[in-house]
């Protein structure tokens, strides 16, 4: 850690992991509710658990991205962070806003929460992933703008590198597209059309830029390959990302009332969206193979390589499975979508966050890498979580295929709930895999506390 202000990232990473644990706990609750219908009903109905699960995921990933930015921007621009105090203040505002929102979800019925938080002024609640009350959304905008101000000022007064530039484009893009969460027309077709400008242009657009920048930073530090090579490949990969991802938004515009030319354009461009992930995997393995130094942090190297592979599998391959319009006609709104969602989010965004955390935390605690014992535990956690996600995805894919067959393809299609009963076996197996994931996560958290002989920073 070359600059003292990089330590500001530590609370962000700690809060990120804490929210990650909360997300998984609520995921397990929901997994159980799939097979044991009235588990915790009516105290925590499924929709409330889902809000906490999805919102905790997004918030902890954003926390991780902010922590990563606070860690790598000073080092990249070779200057101290513009205002560490502002960063800490924003941390507490963001954490408290997130905590209050979750308390709001759990403590009062959603309709009451809506009344209490002024949803009548500007109705933006009640939409998937954007369930936050108006004041929380306002808080997110304030925190995001102040964060961007802090980071941008740091970059402006320091060295300009491609990683800094790409990270800034990604973060500014993230803030810009979040503004569309305030767009909530009465017309359901337009409501959904612009809703995807927040969701899709995030996770298949600007978030991939942030992912690329963080991965490039970690790879430069771990492999010692010179910056010029890595930055060139970074630009090529994110060019492919936006070239395919922007028009790839069309694969959400097949069946929501939008004109049917989107079926052609959405299918063609989203079919090519796996290419940047494949290039990212080649790039990561290539850099590690041509490394010029043997970095003691083996765990971070594994996370970085794993990010490429799992992002390609989860977002690329599993995305391509159901992105072509003729296929999507049958799989739209089934468990296939859920399967893709799990592996894509884990492979692309969870793993890159864990990669930067795994790389930066030891440095912020004064050592080059954790002790061998701690790294072994972390690598166990890596494999447990990754294998568990692969299992969850496989079981949900199987459930989805059976659901599509029973409910849509067969000549006497079954009603929704009857079909759900037929696939409950896969939901049980998914729940067991979820427990394996929790074990992996517990080991991951525990690995931070394992002492042993460590190499000095």
């Amino acid at each position: 850690m070359q600059y003292s202000s990089q330590a500001v990232a530590k609370p962000y990473f700690i809060a990120a992991i804490a929210l990650f644990v909360a997300q998984i706990l609520f995921g397990l609750i929901m997994g159980l509710q799939y097979v044991w219908g009235d588990f915790l009903f009516p105290h925590i109905p499924f929709n409330v658990a889902r809000m906490v699960h999805t919102n905790a995921l997004i918030v902890w990933l954003l926390m991780g991205f902010m922590g990563a930015a606070y860690y790598l921007v000073p080092e990249e621009s070779e200057t101290e962070l513009y205002s560490p105090k502002l960063a800490i203040a924003l941390f507490w505002i963001f954490l408290i806003a997130a905590a209050l929102t979750v308390v709001g979800y759990l403590a009062v019925p959603y309709a009451t929460l809506a009344e209490m938080t002024g949803n009548d002024l500007l109705p933006t609640m009640g939409r998937e992933f954007l369930e936050q009350p108006l004041i929380t959304k306002g808080g997110i905008v304030v925190v995001a703008l102040a964060f961007l101000f802090n980071i941008t000022m740091t970059v402006l007064k320091g060295r300009k590198t491609a990683i800094n530039t790409v990270l800034l484009v990604g973060l500014w893009g993230l803030a810009l597209f979040f503004l569309f969460s305030f767009v909530n027309p009465h017309n359901v077709v337009r409501d959904k059309f612009y809703w995807w400008w927040v969701v899709h242009l995030w996770v298949e657009g600007v978030w991939e830029l942030i992912l690329g920048a963080i991965l490039a930073f970690v790879l430069i530090k771990i492999t010692g390959v010179d910056r010029e090579v890595i930055e060139k490949w970074l630009y090529v990969i994110i060019t492919l990302t936006l070239v395919t991802g922007i028009l790839g938004t069309g694969h959400h515009y097949f069946w929501i009332g939008t004109p049917e030319f989107w079926q052609l354009i959405g299918s063609v461009f989203s079919a090519l969206e796996p290419i940047p992930f494949f290039a990212m995997t080649l790039f990561a393995f290539n850099m590690v193979r041509r490394r010029r130094r043997d970095h003691p942090n083996k765990a971070a190297t594994l996370w970085a390589l794993g990010t490429g592979v799992m992002a390609f599998l989860g977002a690329g391959v599993w995305g391509f499975l159901h992105t072509l319009a003729p296929v999507n006609y049958y799989t739209h709104g089934t468990q296939i979508t859920a399967a893709h969602g799990h592996m894509a989010f884990y492979g692309a965004y969870v793993m890159v966050n864990l990669a930067i955390i795994s790389y930066a935390m030891p440095l912020m605690r004064g050592r080059a890498a954790n002790s061998n014992k701690a790294q072994v535990a972390e690598i166990w956690a890596f494999w447990l979580m990754t294998v568990s996600i692969v299992l969850i995805t496989l079981f949900l894919t199987a459930a989805g295929i059976l659901q599509v067959w029973l409910q849509r393809l067969s000549d006497n299609p079954l009603p929704f709930m009857v079909a759900q009963d037929q696939v409950s076996l896969f939901y049980w197996m998914r729940e067991w895999s979820g427990l394996v994931f929790l074990i992996g996560l517990v080991i991951y958290v525990w690995s931070f506390f394992i002492r042993g002989e460590e190499k000095a920073a």
Binding site: K232, Y235, V236, T239, L240, V243, T244, P259, E260, F261, L264, I265, S267, V268, F269, A271, L272, I275
Partner: protein, 194 residues
């Protein structure tokens, strides 16, 4: 004067910057998928496609093909000129290429004008969804190619390239040739094949 430049041993890399070639291959992949989608959609709606094809102005298509081929030739001559350290002549060839691009877009504008005024748009029928998607998407690539050529022309006029260093011009040239290559396959597929 035209000393034939014997191609030396296999050059390891294509002309211009490799980054543009990754972009070219990505664009070719997009057009390949679009061609396949067109061809298979035509298979399923043969009568519609054959009937609708007659409403296209194949003379405009042919003229555009001639224009783009000439543009491609001009750019190739521009690169040859700069290799012979003739910067001014090279710039003139580039301007000729840009003019062919302008001609292409004008012909396209007339063609689309006729279609839109006849009330045809992206959703009239499946053929026109494909025809307008493919040709408009390609036309935008011609426009982007012209923007690139304009940069290269501007730099060439100011003597920015020399026989020793003209990689930027080769980069722009490669992209422009890709745009022509795509049209050379698109023209028979959409206008001629019945």
């Amino acid at each position: 004067m035209t000393a034939p430049a014997v191609p030396d041993a296999r050059q390891p890399y294509p002309p211009g910057d490799l980054a543009i070639w990754v972009f070219i291959l990505a664009e070719l992949a997009v057009f390949l998928v679009l061609f396949a989608a067109y061809a298979f959609a035509r298979l399923k709606h043969l009568a519609l496609f054959n009937e609708m094809q007659l409403t296209l102005d194949s003379r405009a298509g042919m003229l555009n093909t001639l224009l783009l081929i000439t543009g491609s030739w001009c750019v190739a001559r521009a690169v040859a000129a700069i290799r012979a350290s003739r910067a001014r002549i090279s710039a003139r060839w580039l301007m000729a290429a840009i003019l062919t691009g302008i001609g292409f877009l004008i012909v396209k504008a007339f063609e689309y004008g006729a279609k839109f005024s006849a009330g045809i748009d992206l959703e009239t029928n499946l053929f026109y969804t494909f025809y307008l998607s493919l040709t408009m998407f390609h036309a935008m690539h011609v426009a982007l190619g012209m923007v690139i050529l304009a940069f290269v022309w501007h730099k060439a006029r100011r003597g920015g390239y020399s026989a020793a260093d003209h990689r930027g011009m080769e980069t722009g040239a490669s992209y422009w040739h890709m745009v022509d290559l795509v049209w050379v396959v698109l023209f028979p597929l959409v206008y001629v094949l019945r």
